[in-house]
Symmetry: C2
Subunit: 134 residues, 2 copies
């Protein structure tokens, strides 16, 4: 598996945990020693693992936890770090998101997530595996 594919796989696992409302999976996806930050749609930055995980727990166990799908992901990587840009399909509308990953003990772990509104739709843009400088 290329590093680009490995980042896309980690990204897919994130959306699977999100869609499944799987709090333990979400916890394990986020980096445990590297510093983390998260920007939910319309929010400010949430800084630090404890608060980030707590925010996800609140979302995933909430009655209004959204059905979500990752659409048209594109991976970018730079050696020991990388990110995926993708649409998030939520109840017939779309958000645009970036998910940052770094390698922690050989595995790609999430260190940042930002999602916000977009007036665009995935359209016919094909998923691509992204580009790399390595």
């Amino acid at each position: 598996m290329s590093e680009s594919d490995a980042i896309l796989f980690a990204n897919e696992m994130f959306y699977r945990a999100f869609a499944d409302r799987d709090v333990p999976a979400m916890e394990s996806l986020w980096a445990s020693s590297a510093p983390v930050c998260c920007i939910h749609p319309g929010w400010e930055g949430i800084h630090g693992r404890e608060d980030v995980i707590e925010s996800w727990r609140a979302i995933l166990v909430g009655a209004s936890a959204p059905d979500i799908a990752c659409i048209a992901p594109r991976a970018y990587y730079y050696g020991e770090a990388g990110y995926v840009v993708c649409f998030e399909g939520v109840g017939g509308s779309y958000l645009i998101a970036t998910n940052y990953f770094v390698k922690e003990e050989g595995r790609w772990k999430m260190v940042h997530h930002q999602a916000g509104p977009t007036r665009f739709e995935p359209g016919d843009m094909p998923p691509e595996s992204g580009r790399s400088i390595n």
Copy 2:
């Protein structure tokens, strides 16, 4: 200068180029060999240096180029990559942004920018220099 400070400095240069509508400075801030992506507020991802720079040129030379200020930046870094989370003050309202940097020939260069709406304000949250795993 610590790496965290160097990333904050690169971030400040980005907002200075933005506020000054300085297209050449904006061009030089973005990575030239590392792949880049940019998500303007409400947009989809713009992929690739040529299109990203063109989008900035259109914004900076446009009649409606916003006055902008970076507020309460926090830097995160991970060796050869890092990012800054900050508020953007635009005409009395705020956006929330993440700016991602990688080292290119020893200098921190921008490889990704995402800005979107936030219902929060900087308030009394002090600027911090961020955390690091190094």
